[in-house]
Symmetry: C3
Amino acid sequence: MRAADCLTLERAADAVGGRVLGDGDVVFRRFAPVHDAGPEALALLADRRYAGDLEDCGGCALLVSEELCDLEAGPPDRLVVPDPYAALLVLVPLLHPEPSVVPGVHPAATIHDSASIPVSAAIAPHAVIAAGVVLGENVSIGANCVIERGTSIGADTVLFPNVTVYADSVVGKRVVVHAGTRIGVDGFGYVTEAGNHRKLPQVGGCVIEDDVEIGANCTIDRGSIGRTVIGAGSKLDNLVHIGHNVQIGPRSILVAQVGVAGSTRTGEGVAMGGQAGLVGHLRIGAGARIGAQAGVIGDVAPGETVSGYPARDHRSYLKAMALLMRLPEVMQRVDRLERRAVERDAR
Amino acid sequence: MRAADCLTLERAADAVGGRVLGDGDVVFRRFAPVHDAGPEALALLADRRYAGDLEDCGGCALLVSEELCDLEAGPPDRLVVPDPYAALLVLVPLLHPEPSVVPGVHPAATIHDSASIPVSAAIAPHAVIAAGVVLGENVSIGANCVIERGTSIGADTVLFPNVTVYADSVVGKRVVVHAGTRIGVDGFGYVTEAGNHRKLPQVGGCVIEDDVEIGANCTIDRGSIGRTVIGAGSKLDNLVHIGHNVQIGPRSILVAQVGVAGSTRTGEGVAMGGQAGLVGHLRIGAGARIGAQAGVIGDVAPGETVSGYPARDHRSYLKAMALLMRLPEVMQRVDRLERRAVERDAR
Amino acid sequence: MRAADCLTLERAADAVGGRVLGDGDVVFRRFAPVHDAGPEALALLADRRYAGDLEDCGGCALLVSEELCDLEAGPPDRLVVPDPYAALLVLVPLLHPEPSVVPGVHPAATIHDSASIPVSAAIAPHAVIAAGVVLGENVSIGANCVIERGTSIGADTVLFPNVTVYADSVVGKRVVVHAGTRIGVDGFGYVTEAGNHRKLPQVGGCVIEDDVEIGANCTIDRGSIGRTVIGAGSKLDNLVHIGHNVQIGPRSILVAQVGVAGSTRTGEGVAMGGQAGLVGHLRIGAGARIGAQAGVIGDVAPGETVSGYPARDHRSYLKAMALLMRLPEVMQRVDRLERRAVERDAR
């Protein structure tokens, strides 16, 4: 199915294997959340907590899960699917095709003679490609990016504007790097002598494996010696910091503003909530879940869920924090018990 | 009053409606805090905690509040006002006029033919303005900025250097965006199937309303579907992260390194302290105050002040944390009560 | 000793004053951590917690401390030194010479006529040097950097790509600034009148003293009035935020994602762990240590170590947090004591 200006509920249902409630000929041109839907929008309702927004929903139809499809308020014409987000994976590209990238090197880019640039690559204005850089097929380098000497970037990878990749980094295939991210930065390593900090040369590698996506304004350090590695298929949100020699396992999720200090290694499929921090030299087991803002100062076992500072088992932590709020009461009760004991002894 | 090289205390007092203690003919050429004031500086004392710096104050005169104007130490010649900061709003521009921006497109900028650039706009070197971009009157685009296709930017807006605005974003009038900030970035949305994370296309809008100021190296995601909105008159400090579909109410204050996760909506005039984090899908009421480093995982009522992780009423939290430090003592008292009870039972 | 392609253990031992165990003729070409060492690597073992990696170490030889040199597993040929990191300070440059910077202004850079650029300076493509900028000898300005009017940069300073230095900043000698960092940004200061935030003009200075290194994507605000100062020899990791009028003492260490709010002053040799936050207007004594993620809301005495939010003495905090996890037990014990007291009274 080719991209189009509009869709009917019926065609959309065919595309995702859903069913229509009401009029299948209703036409929509865009998608929107329930509270922000104009008259040409298919409104998304995937979560019961937004059911209250249905009253004022301006959308022409509703994309809704089986579970919520019977709610009375809101547009009566509905596309019902098991998982609305999975349906969006199919539907959004039908109305919003990926903008096509025009191959070629913009004349305002600066490319070193020794760089290897296939004709299928697209290099935007004012990008700088240094000596010995090797780009794969269909690579797209955004405006004002700087790719330093000796770096290689795999096929079909996209760098948004204003990205810096330091020398000798290795970026895989189908990687997406958002604006302003820095890859292969010198790690933070000093030897302190009499209060003066002498820099340890940071000469290790930085490897971004295939199918990684990195958000905007992230910083990924190179190894001091050895390598920093972001495992295949992992996704990093904005403003994430990865220290030198860190190894992030494949298919992990790091939410915005996470920081991982040097030499920590994490297993496959680890999830880290926003603003979580991990000190250096830890081992985090596969499938572990680190809560938002958690401060992890010890190893985490595979599959474990931790939160708080210092991070511990998530449920115990929340329970303890709830009891913490009852401390004033506990203090009073202990006071009373002591007074009672004194009175009894006096009798 | 035109900008000048120097001012007398008397003229400054006229400009702000203050009164002079001592010699009104004293001349100053700059402003400085008390501890860092040279002989040509009007030293600012607005807060009693800096009174101790008065002893060594090198300034030629003092700008001071009524409340603190009688302190003995420091320069005897003084400009006394009700609110020194409000006075600075008037006085600083008299000595430090805004640098004038010279309109015109620098020849080293790259402008697409289809972009609309008024003659009053200033485009610095190596800026890139893509197809279909529309700029308002007097817009200033800093060096090495990248404005992607279809974005519109309202009159009198200033982008400092190295900013990226993704495609189809909408930036209002009189907005200020500091260096390295990214607007309209793809949100962080994936559907996970068998451990693999498939990206949900991020095709929503990103709207920065009028009179917003955004600090350096911030990241503002576009909506997945629907829009991300930064409300009119809101001010964001550096390194702030705003997730997709977030709506920040007008006239809010977000201090440095705050993170707001996807789909959270905040009311008018909310204040968030530095490094505070809000998880997704929350509602934060108008006028709420989120403490520095707070971790907010539930809705916050209008006007409420919260802190801690998980965030709660600020006073209760601080009280509980204070009691927490007395836990060792509580444990001892409980031990003692138990021993006493055992002894009594033994008698 | 000139840089070389490879070294023998013997020559390396001569260079650092270490001793060889086993065969001094073993040749290595690179350095690596024990777990990531190929056959041509001298593997580094400096910390007992990595001893377990020795079993699978693929390196041809081991660089090891006296304390760990007798471990049986791993390469038998060893270079034994008192401090392996100090040895790396000497050894790494022998195999990895600093890339030489070629002096000269790239034709695709944009330099204002009034800027002062010595012939020894290196200006990369698409850098922008504004009016009145003064660069010292051997300064290296990376691609797509923007140095605004009136800024001075001392000799031997290196700016990596995509850095912005705002107007009238002062950067010292031998400073290193990593990609995407912003120096001299407007501070975050507003006067709020009837809910509207009016910006206080930010006209102070921003001073980076000699021998400072600043990581990637940091933000250093200029003073509002007065100056922001990063003291000589201090080292800042990535994504650090420094507010206006802050003074960081010399030879301090600020780990990634630290935030220091306006007007706080810190003494010499302070260390701040990752993601730590300091509110404004504090005094932090020389040699103080701020734990990772600590939230500091009060002054810290010289030499003190604090952690937690609100930050307190580190040991007390950790002890209290450990007891916190025993609160459920305390509650049960208090319940039991109360029941016992009631029963006794009933008797």
